[in-house]
Amino acid sequence: MGAIVVQLLHAALSSATPIALAALGGMFSYHANVFNIAMEGMMLMGAYYAVYGAYRFGHWLYGVLFALLSGLILAGIFSLLAIVLKVDEFITGIGINMLALGWTTYSLRATFQVKGAFISQTIPPIPRVRLPVVEKIPFLGAVLSSHPFLVFVAVLAAFVCHVVLYQTKFGLRLRATGEEPAAVASVGLSIGRLKFWSAVLCGIFSALAGVYLSLGYVTLFSENMSNGRGWISLAIIILVRGRPVPIMLMSLAFGLLENLGMLLQRYDVPPQFTAMLPYVATLFVLYSYARRLKTS
């Protein structure tokens, strides 16, 4: 039993990482009052270019580099359309998500001559870290150790984002932009520039989420491998009203539910039902959250 729990928690932490990273990125847009739904596409693009870079140049660092570039380019496109040209943010996001899906599917076939997924022994994954002291702690050690390093980056990022958002000039101005743009404009700051930086951060974090998917979680790229994680991250952002640490906790809850579902499959629960678990849970959380708001 203990082993199962350890396994479950270990897997939960792993599943939570891409969701948390994307949500932390989207959080910046949320606070700038930009309705950015492009995390899904940015993540998928990041996942593809991580595999591309790592495979082509033989080192995972190239994967990260390419993924970040792809994230920045999508952030640039988003900014140009939604912030400079003031196209509807939602439509822009949908466009980016569809572009990412089409582009990666096409590139997969054109570059690697495969359909569905590209798997190769020569794709270098991102390194896993072993925690020297923690490893020895009986229960915790097994849960925390030998994860790809991005898992720890995500956990740390939650706290760093908290500081950035609430204790830096940038964070203060960003929150002010989202709430009362007139106040920010009246002191001579550029609202567009702040929104642009929020999009860039979203691109960086979502691309890292993609790197984790294709070089950490597994070592391959498959079509549409982001598989709705960007949307879950959006739901989490809205649910916790963009607070970084709760974003991390909610992502963990999702990771847990996802793996709980897989665990239940062992006990003859049909997979169709177990796969629903995270989403049913989302609806339930939304319901109780809305009820609480209504009664208070």
């Binding site: 830096t168 203060l172 101005r173 002010a176 709430e179 007139a182 002191v187």
Partner: protein, 502 residues
């Protein structure tokens, strides 16, 4: 001279002239009032000085130097800052955060909350502004938030502070406090422009007064006791305005509105919002409803227009029982000028034409089967614009661009042109300037003289006394008195409103 604005013109294409050759100057350490009616150009002139809009013509000098003020940031650099009527503050931030926003004390990008708070606190103390700098901004009153805006300007070392109608949303006590603070600011060498149309306040606090009318400067006078409110009003308006309306009392005609035993009970609290209201309005009379706000006047109007169902009682209009009719059916009898013109009376983002044809559009000639006849609509709107003297660029201008008085004229034009027998007026002159108010009052009397029945709800007791043939006083959802304004004094009405015996 600290500031000189010379020969300033502002033209909005194609042909709206907002300012015509206006000269304006400021001396160091004065409180300079800028007065004029709505639409006289006060805000435009000050927006030019604070860099929000650019003049079409003219020059500005600060300390004798000719300057171009292209943005509020440039204005701030020159020491000029404006506090607008709409306060631009971030509600969830603390007061000091709002003040330092944009030039925050920081080390390596990290904010220094203690230092910021301390600096802002010292600033507030130095200028005698009584505000808790650590409070969450949205928890402050309007007066408090206004002080935050003033602090924002002071933090940026502004020498010239423009306050745009700062007392508009303040209680009398809060206004007094603001005046004291303005005096303290003046003592410490700041120059203040006080934009207002409240003449008593202007005379009380300013050193000099500049009067604008229809985009032109009428005069700049020293406030040394030589000028009276009446003289200022005359300069503002241009013609002598007699606010007392001449009433020609005519015998009232048949009853148009008959309300019997009308009650409304709030479902959740069980409170009686209306309690056995009986009233009658005859053709050719104006009936006023007086009362301290919140004593059932709003509910009465809502029930009459059909937005709420009464718990008991009946409403008859011209002999027909309308108690169970929906609002649209009732509108066949009622013209209605609501209290909240921006949200209820108008669709601000729609054009003047669209606003004018609403309700009219249900019937021919505006309606042709399922379509609107656009050319008839345009002619109809143009005619009303002309008849009701709505100042605008044309029927296709958006209503939100109009001044408050002209917006109200749009509502009134639409409703009066419905030609209904009963007219409900809910606070029709609230927030309007002197001329628009007078215009509205004339309209009311004209309606009465054309044998309409008018029910007027107003918080302005003078207005009720001037216009009404009879006054009902409401208190706690009941009609507590029916008075004749020709035989009773205003104070008697006041006693009934408050429930103290005369």
């Amino acid at each position: 001279m600290l500031v000189e604005m010379i020969d300033i013109c502002k033209v909005y294409p194609p042909n709206v002239v907002a300012l015509k050759h206006v000269d304006f100057s400021l001396e160091r350490g004065e409180i300079h009032a800028l007065v004029g009616e709505n639409g006289a150009g006060k805000s435009t002139l000050m927006k030019i000085l604070s860099g929000l809009i650019r003049p079409s013509f003219g020059e500005i000098r600060v300390n004798g130097q000719r300057v171009q003020i292209n943005s509020p940031v440039v204005a701030a650099r020159l020491g000029i800052g404006m506090v607008h009527q709409e306060l631009a503050l971030v509600g969830s931030l603390r007061v000091y955060e709002n003040v330092v926003l944009g030039s925050e004390p920081s080390r390596f990008g990290l904010l220094q909350p203690q230092k910021s708070s301390q600096m802002v606190k010292q600033l507030a103390e130095r200028f005698g502004l009584n505000v808790d700098v650590d409070a969450i901004t949205q928890e402050l009153s309007v007066a408090g938030r206004q002080k935050v805006e003033i602090l924002k300007q002071l933090y940026r070392n502004v020498d010239i502070l423009i306050l745009d109608e700062p007392t508009a949303a303040l209680t009398p006590q809060e206004s007094e406090e603001l005046f004291d603070e303005m005096f303290k600011l003046r003592e410490r060498g700041k120059t203040i422009v006080f934009v207002s149309h409240k003449l008593d306040e202007v005379l009380k606090i300013s050193d000099r007064i500049t009067v604008l009318r229809k985009g032109e400067k009428i005069a700049t006078v020293k406030n040394d006791g030589s000028i009276s409110a009446a003289q200022l009003a005359e300069m503002m308006v241009g013609k002598r305005i007699e606010l007392v309306s001449i009433k020609a009392r005519r015998p009232a005609g048949d009853p148009v509105l008959v309300v019997k035993d009308l009650s409304l009970v709030d479902r959740t609290s069980g409170k009686k919002l209306l309690d056995g209201v009986n009233l009658t309005v005859h053709a050719g009379e104006v009936v006023g409803i007086a009362g301290v706000e919140g004593n059932g006047q709003n509910e009465l109007i809502e029930v009459l227009i059909g937005l709420r169902k009464p718990t008991s009682g009946s409403i008859k209009i011209m002999g027909e029982d309308v108690t169970n009719l929906d609002p649209r059916q009732r509108r066949a009898f009622i013209a209605y000028v609501p209290q909240d013109r921006k949200n209820v009376g108008l669709a601000l983002k729609a054009t003047i034409m669209e606003n004018l044809i609403m309700t009219h559009h249900m019937n021919p000639p505006l309606r042709r089967k399922w379509l609107l006849d656009k050319s008839v609509a345009k002619d109809f709107a143009s005619r009303l614009i002309k008849d009701f003297e709505i100042v605008c660029r044309g029927p296709f201008e958006k209503v939100q661009n109009l001044s408050g008085g002209n917006q109200q004229k749009v509502v009134v034009a639409r409703e009066i042109s419905l030609n209904r027998q009963l007219i409900l007026l809910d606070q029709p002159t609230r927030g309007l300037d002197v001329a628009s108010t007078q215009y509205l009052r004339d309209q009311v009397l004209m309606l009465r003289d054309s044998s309409k029945a008018v029910l007027l709800v107003s918080a302005d007791l003078d207005e009720l006394m001037d216009l009404s043939d009879r006054i009902y006083v409401m208190r706690s959802g009941r009609i507590v008195a029916e008075l004749d304004p020709r035989t009773v004094d205003k104070t008697v009405v006041g006693y009934h409103m408050l429930g103290v015996s005369a």
